[in-house]
């Protein structure tokens, strides 16, 4: 396995991140996030490299990482759709809209489209309950969803 290498920009960012904390390990989540935002997943090689930066074992990195739902070890689509299904969204009809979205993308919830463009996941409350039903696509929140609005959003992403 080729050794995982951080880019020069990432190295600079890592040193900025480390500067925020008196204890290195605190940078673990930020480093995992940094890697995932560039690679769309965290590979075993990256876990080793992050461990080396922070003086912790790769197993420790993995054990922490597995606790959090936002990290992926497998490739996901270019657009990650997190569809809120919690109570305020449920009361406003999210179940039907989620079905509609899956049908539109021609996948089951939890899957990625064959062109690797979209991954669709059920998500617990995303703290935008007053705009229910809502979803998050990568970093963007979309609220007050209807079938038409979902179609428009999906069609507008390239």
């Amino acid at each position: 396995m080729a050794k995982y290498k951080f880019t020069e920009d990432q190295e600079k960012e890592i040193s900025d991140i480390l500067g925020k904390y008196p204890v290195k390990t605190s940078a673990l989540l930020p480093l995992l996030t940094l890697v995932q935002r560039s690679d769309q997943l965290v590979s075993p090689g990256a876990m080793v490299a992050i461990g080396e930066k922070l003086d912790v074992s790769p197993a420790y990195v993995q054990s922490v990482m597995s606790f959090y739902t936002m990290y992926h070890t497998k490739k996901v689509g270019k657009y990650m759709i997190l569809f809120c299904i919690n109570i305020s969204c449920q009361l406003n009809g999210c179940d039907k809209l989620l079905e509609h979205t899956a049908r539109k993308l021609n996948i089951k919830v939890g899957e990625t489209t064959s062109d690797e463009k979209f991954t669709l996941h059920r998500e617990e409350c995303l703290a935008a309950c007053t705009e229910a039903p809502m979803m998050r696509v990568n970093d963007t929140y979309y609220g007050n969803l209807t079938e038409q609005r979902i179609d428009q959003i999906i069609d507008s992403l390239d």
Partner: protein, 419 residues
Amino acid sequence: MTQILFKDINKKNLHTMKVYEGIGGYQSLKKAFSQKPEEIVEAVKASGLRGRGGAGFPTGLKWSFLAKDVFPRYLCCNADESEPGTCKDRELLLKNPHLLIEGMILCSYACRIETGYIYLRGEFHDLSLIMDKALNEAYAKGYLGKNILGSGFNLEIHTHLGAGAYICGEESALLNSLEGGRGEPRMKPPFPAVEGLYSKPTVINNVETLCVVPFIVNEGADKHAALGTEKSKGTKLVSVSGHVKKPGNYEIELGTPTSELIFNMAGGIQNDNKLKAFIPGGSSVPMLPADKVDTPYDYESLAAAGTMLGSGALIVIDDSINIVEATLRLISFYMHESCGKCTPCREGTRWLHQIVERIMQNKGQLEYITKLEDICDNMAFKAFCPLADACVAPVVSSIKYFRSDYEEYFKNVPAGTSR
């Protein structure tokens, strides 16, 4: 109605330093620096401000519990807003980041803290960028950094993103997460005020709580204490969601009737259906039936009605759905979010889920309700942190007030169904 937090919330470009200063932002700092830190703590105590994240613990008292003469100390702002139904902090962070920074500076000065972290849930990446920008503006103005406004007081504030775990909103789990560990709760005592972040004395406050502090310093503790009820002082942001016509975050004076929030501010029930139930303080608190809708929205009145004010998330449910459907959704959430550390929570949430799911598949029988109550009894107050109790709340309250909704599923059970 007096507004402390939302007075200018929709002002254009409020998130910029220029506009924020234009409405008097950061004016409280000079006033604070002319006083002794202890005087600020006393003022916050006298104001009657209580934690707005969920527990409602008196803020000034929390600050005064910091271990004496132990340094460094830390401030962690809890912006891990994840309680279903709650989205007030998101609006504050999005539209008024400088108010939080100002509140954090005041708290840090009062508690002699020189480093603060804003722990944002991972999904708030967009807000972390807004916050970082606001922090940079504050450094550039000399409101953060070394020797702030010539006071000799130093403060650094950093943002820190989580990565998807509801439990990290629990304060000791938040600390573990911020230290780079799994977000599992810690044994208390020691409380964070004695041994918190990096085992040092730590204040952990919710976004909304810290955002109230500038008002107290500017206007005086009395002005804050004059708002609300005798024991629930001040105002509260309430996220009204669910079956209402105008869902939104509304700022009320504590003690305002719940009916005012639902029928006036939030425009009443969708499709002119009838109100069936409401969950006043986020998914972790017991629901109440429609006939309790006049309960004043404050800590004591809601407690007397058998529920809690919690995080201030009012979830409104109309008569178009069976309450068991909503209950199952909440159980499912807690099952998903259980960290797995304690048996009553790890197994209990799953058992509740299995049984309620079976009921909804018309495969239940009356004894299942007794079973649910029995499991709840074995979960409540028997786990390390309040997550198990939170899961129990909707189950017990739905059975108490809407037993007939469960019984609906016991009719028409197909012959030969195995129980």
